[in-house]
């Protein structure tokens, strides 16, 4: 059996699954050249690691210790810091407008195929779901796998309207929730989500809600999240109260 060079390297670095590992070990037993090649990778790793190991024993310069201990430099970023104390209401007006301001120019808020916006800021200050997002909010059940949008859960807000959490799958996922506002979905909160793993699970990333989003939902939610039946009924009624 012939293994690609990168597979041998990955073997030497301990990166292979058990099956491939065994296959290589079987082959190594009968092919000394293969064993040699792997040994070369291991030796290189040890040597390069060893060449920089001494840095760990050097005294850390004072200026670096001082940098770690001094007060964080002031900047516009730190001035908006007391974010965690904001209520959802403030989030609604600040987060949506601010985040959209920050994110609007980026592709993640647009559908990759059409370039249409997933969220649209209205002049009246409301932020409305558009394109695939609006469609998913209206049509897709929480249990269904969407292609671009995942719906997490549906709930009734204390103010009576239906709300749904969503995540837009992309390399930099966006998550949030939207509430029914007459015939549209008003996006009440938007946030970036933890990144998807490379080549990995976008659904996971688009359903993990950051703490401020979870908190905002908890403050808005009336009772429990809808179960599958309740959700299906709500959809049938086009999410009218």
């Amino acid at each position: 059996m012939k293994f690609p060079p990168e597979t041998l390297m990955a073997y030497a670095d301990g990166e292979l699954d058990a099956e491939t590992r065994r296959a290589i070990e079987d082959e190594m037993a009968i092919d000394p050249q293969l064993a040699q090649e792997i040994e070369r990778h291991r030796a290189m790793r040890a040597e390069v690691g060893g060449a920089f190991a001494g840095v760990l024993d050097e005294p850390v310069p004072d200026r670096l210790l001082r940098a770690a201990k001094k007060a964080a430099p002031q900047s516009p970023a730190t001035q908006v810091e007391p974010r965690r104390q904001w209520t959802w209401r403030e989030w609604g007006s600040i987060a949506a407008s601010l985040l959209i301001g920050v994110l609007a120019g980026r592709a993640m808020l647009q559908e990759p195929d059409t370039g249409r916006g997933l969220v649209v800021a209205r002049v009246d200050g409301r932020v409305i779901a558009g394109g695939a997002l609006a469609q998913a909010l209206s049509e897709q059940l929480s249990s269904q796998d969407g292609t671009a949008i995942d719906i997490g859960l549906s709930f009734r807000a204390k103010s009576g309207e239906y709300c749904r959490t969503f995540g837009a799958r992309s390399a930099s996922p966006i998550v949030g929730f939207a509430c029914r506002d007459a015939e549209v979905w008003r996006v009440d909160m938007l946030s970036t989500a933890p990144r998807a793993e490379p080549g990995g699970n976008y659904r996971m990333a688009s359903t993990q809600l950051p703490a401020p989003v979870v908190q905002a939902i908890a403050e808005r939610m009336q009772g429990e999240a809808l179960d599958a039946d309740e959700e299906a009924i709500a959809r049938q009624r086009r999410w009218r109260e």
């Binding site: 990168e6 390297m9 990166e15 840095v55 850390v60 310069p61 670096l64 964080a72 730190t78």
Partner: protein, 166 residues
């Protein structure tokens, strides 16, 4: 995450931050500039770190970005290949292993940047391919091919010059 927690983690990690910087920046002074810059950035954005992220990977990512955005352009080019600046402080007893060690450091310094970052993260810092790919914000396949090319280049440089440079 509180800024105090982040500070605490940074102080604990300082020796490794310096080591990773040394694989990127090619001389002690620029390397420590890079660490200092990254510390300041990390403290500014401490809220972005969450306990489910590995702290070292998060910091390495900040360092990589800081290097690309800021420090690289300020790095003192005239010092890059100055041998006495090349790396770790070691006794200059001229023993064969010391000579070899410096040769390896210099070989790493000569790698193209993308390969150098991959080599630094995986071979020096011991990150998994997945973790290193996340730090560099590239797919795992890209990381492995950079790492493989980096190893080949190192092999070529070092077999060309087993010990010292004339």
């Amino acid at each position: 995450m509180s800024v105090e927690q982040v500070r605490h983690h940074i102080v604990e990690l300082l020796p490794r931050l310096r080591r990773f910087a040394r694989t990127i920046a090619r001389n002690v002074h620029d390397a420590d500039d890079l660490v200092q810059f990254a510390i300041e950035r990390a403290l500014l954005k401490h809220e972005q770190w969450r306990p489910e992220l590995k702290f070292d990977g998060w910091m390495f990512g900040i360092m990589r970005n800081a290097w690309i955005d800021e420090v690289r352009s300020r790095a003192r080019r005239d010092r890059i290949f100055a041998p006495e600046e090349a790396g770790v402080t070691v006794g200059h007893d001229g023993s064969e292993s010391q000579v070899r060690l410096l040769a390896v450091q210099r070989a790493v310094a000569e790698l193209p940047e993308e390969q150098r970052l991959a080599v630094g993260l995986v071979l020096v810092e011991g990150l998994s391919y997945k973790e290193a790919a996340e730090v560099l914000d590239v797919p795992i396949g890209t990381l492995t091919s950079r790492l493989a090319r980096g190893r080949e280049t190192l092999q070529a440089i070092l077999s060309d010059r087993p010990g010292e440079r004339s």
